[in-house]
């Protein structure tokens, strides 16, 4: 809350936009959280005696432009939009409404799964070059503290990692492959990763050939690329 207040400092009209997809499911940016954050901003304004209008709105998915169109007028009437979507949502809002400041209300860090209610564990680093078929469905990039690709380091003790309080990913990989009767996969060396597909060389682009329009199709629909 402190960070958001600093980001919106001076704004007279604030719109908190929640996201009904992943962020809502993660109990971070749904309707309840949007309303709660709005109340916190309103309370601060009331304490300061400042005249700040705070409204909330929900997008089905902030990452898709279509779902932001219905919010156009309320976004355009605001000084600042606080996005409770992931970092994608903030950027899409900013891109669609270039003259309105969009700020992140969340601090998106990873792709995880709920371990229990309100507890999430990172599972995927979105690194490209997936090896889950070789590692018994446990990602060594995201779940090994050192992202080791061919077996554990010397710091694995009793199945626990020496970094933080985590299970050793390579212990999990070993156990999973043993259960699957595929211990042989442990002997196959995973070649050095092609990190060009990960966090270097700018934003990664994924094209789903079956879904992306061809030039011919675009022309037939009267659109240019």
């Amino acid at each position: 809350v402190k960070d958001v207040l600093a980001m919106i400092g001076g704004a007279r009209s604030v719109l908190v936009v929640g996201c009904r997809s992943c962020a809502a499911i993660c109990m971070a940016g749904g309707e309840r959280e949007a309303e709660t954050l709005a109340e916190a901003i309103r309370l601060k304004a009331a304490m300061d005696g400042s005249d700040v209008g705070v409204r909330t709105s929900m997008a089905e998915r902030q990452c898709e432009r279509e779902f932001l169109i219905p919010l156009s007028s309320s976004i355009s009437e605001s000084d600042v939009v606080v996005s409770l979507g992931c970092g994608v949502g903030v950027q899409v809002i900013q891109e669609m409404f270039p003259s309105i400041r969009a700020v992140p209300g969340l601090d998106t860090s990873n792709m995880g799964s709920p371990e229990e209610r309100g507890v999430f564990l990172e599972r995927c680093g979105g690194g490209g070059g997936c090896v889950l078929h070789l590692t018994g469905g446990v990602c060594p990039v995201a779940r090994c503290s050192k992202s080791l690709m061919n077996g554990p380091c010397g710091g694995s003790q009793d199945g626990r990692c020496e970094v933080g309080d985590n299970p050793c990913a390579w212990q999990l990989i070993h156990d999973s492959l043993m259960r699957l009767g595929r211990a042989d996969l442990l002997t196959s060396a995973i070649p050095p990763r092609d990190w060009r597909r990960s966090r270097s060389g700018g934003p990664r682009r994924v094209v789903v050939e079956a879904a992306a329009e061809s030039d011919e199709e675009r022309a037939a629909r009267g659109r240019t690329a």
Binding site: V1, E39, A40, L43, K44, A46, M47
Partner: protein, 130 residues
């Protein structure tokens, strides 16, 4: 007049409050089926509306008809306190307490304590509490 203490309570706690006589001045009650309904925004809204203290009054532990609504309320009250600290507000302005219809004096005591805190801390929002 704006109440000094806003009590957000469940049915059982409300019975406990009512069975111990009329409420002291400056106290107003919002009843909900279960304090599990509480969320942080409601508590913050209570303060913004002028209350000096929001008292969340739920069932005794192990006594919630909805199993753990009172424990959920405690979690949310704690979260509201953290938000208040972030806003530079004394977290003591949100209090969670417990009472049962069999022990109305406890409910009464919680209200008295909240009123004392309200007097100590004074108004939060300018102009809301003359």
């Amino acid at each position: 007049m704006t109440p000094k203490v806003l009590v957000m309570c469940c049915r059982k706690a409300s019975t406990a409050l009512e069975s111990s006589g009329p409420l002291p001045e400056g106290v107003s009650v919002v009843r909900m089926p279960c304090t599990g309904r509480l969320d942080e925004g409601m508590a913050l809204n209570g303060l913004r509306s002028g209350a000096r203290v929001v008292l969340v009054l739920g069932c005794l532990k192990g006594n919630c008809v909805h199993v753990a609504g009172n424990l959920q309320a405690e979690r949310r009250a704690e979260s509201a306190k953290r938000m208040l600290a972030d806003l530079g507000v004394d977290p003591a302005r949100v209090v969670m307490a417990r009472a049962s219809p069999a022990g109305p004096l406890k409910a009464r005591q919680a209200v008295r304590d909240a009123l004392r805190t309200a007097d100590e801390l004074g108004p939060l929002v300018k102009g809301a509490d003359p």
